[in-house]
Amino acid sequence: MSRAEPGTTRLYHRLMVYLLFIILLLPLAGTLLYSLATSWSASLLPSGLTFKWYVALWSDPRFLAAFGQSLLVCVGALLLSVLLILPLLFVVHYHFPRLDALMNILILLPFAVPPVVSSVGLLQLYGSGPMAMVGTPWILIGCYFTVALPFMYRAITNNLQAINLRDLMDAAQLLGASTFQAAFLVVLPNLRKGLLVALLLSFSFLFGEFVFANLLVGTRYETLQVYLNNMRNSSGHFNSALVISYFLFVLVLTWAANRLNKDKS
């Protein structure tokens, strides 16, 4: 824009952006303050500041176990997703481009079917019998694969389109590589960064998943979100420390993904 905007318009836009920022920040800032407060009731500001709630949280073995179990389930689910989705995408784009239209409809399913609906069927199908998985982390890993699928599929597709898959494969094969070698040694390294960004972002939203975890597994393999919900009756300060710790962890992940994404372009 070459033309200078009038001062009042500029001020208005700045104000709106600050307002948006404050609205989004307020619950977080409140929780942060609460987690650092010795006690806080019926006054504008807490009476004193302390780290004791964080110390209590990070020395609670149940919290550490839930944190570790969340990590395991999410990493497991993402490994499974990569193992299933990468070959699928490669085959679809290289051999059966027409399947992409079908896939684009299929990946709408996890979006149109909320986890609470899937849970109804999952509980009945895998509650007992030959495929009894309810109450184990395995069912979560499978479900999280479907949660991550739409996002991962789109993200990797965008990357595949950007690297010109067909030319790359043809060039590699012209130089004597087999299809397998070309896929592994030429295409995969080119996808590395985009894949990492997709994985980091998927991880950050899988880490916050509660519905499947609570309905299908609950305390039998407690994840962080279920732990948080089960701690509802403990001190609000303790819970705030938990919320802030969780958010900071996710913040670091999304920040890393953002940085990587910027480096790429």
């Binding site: 824009m1 836009h13 948006l20 619950p27 909320p114 609470v116 849970s119 499978g142 299809t179 919900n229």
Partner: protein, 280 residues
Amino acid sequence: MNSIKRSKWLASLFLLPFALFFIIFQIAPLAWVAIHSLQAESGWGLANFSKVFQSRFYRQAIQHSLEISFWSSVFGLLIAILGSYSLRKVDSRLRDFVNAFANMTSNFAGVPLAFAFIILLGFNGALTMLLKQAGIIEDFNLYSKTGLIILYTYFQIPLGVLLLYPAFDALREDWRESAELLGANAWQYWWNIGLPVMTPALLGTFVILLANALGAYATVYALTTGNFNVLPIRIAALVAGDISLDPNLASALAMILVGLMTLVTVVHQWLLKRSYHVAR
């Protein structure tokens, strides 16, 4: 040509593991729900559905779900429109920072969000106390419909900004200048050019927000320990509650929710095809 055929056949083998997992964890549960929604004690039929629509309790759940979703989507969309339009007009440092922050807060939902709101706006919340002392409000109940609409609106805002921010690309600055040159004022420009161009994107974002709120379970569950009557809470209570389990009735409720979500998804896909910023 035989080797190409063979390699295609081999390649299709790679589709199998994906298909297997997708069927186990996505298709089969949905199929179970669809089939059992039609099964009642009396046999096959729509008995479950008529039970749902005859019950005042379940009708209330559907109505609450629709009301909360609708209003939180309207408010979320309005704030997102004002915010993301202004975001484009400020200097890039502020813009990048607030954009990145909005991105990050989109992960702040569910149980942690409910807890943050209890601390801030619960009965003894800091903000509730502050507003009470200032005499602005008499009382505030976060655990009510109004409270839930505020809470839902909060988690709609980041998603709305995320979806709308790129959509404003469709508005070209030279259109505005041309309109001005031809004597249009700001209102005329927005009414005749800006709004019609943006309509598909705005409606598309609105339906996504609607779906986002309709399916939300964690936030309302964590806030009210499952005591507020909305559709997802009712479904879960019928399969995992401790009072009365009725998976078939749960399936019927679930199919109603899926029906609403499918409608939303279809409308969104249709709008996506007509919107300016995606088509070009």
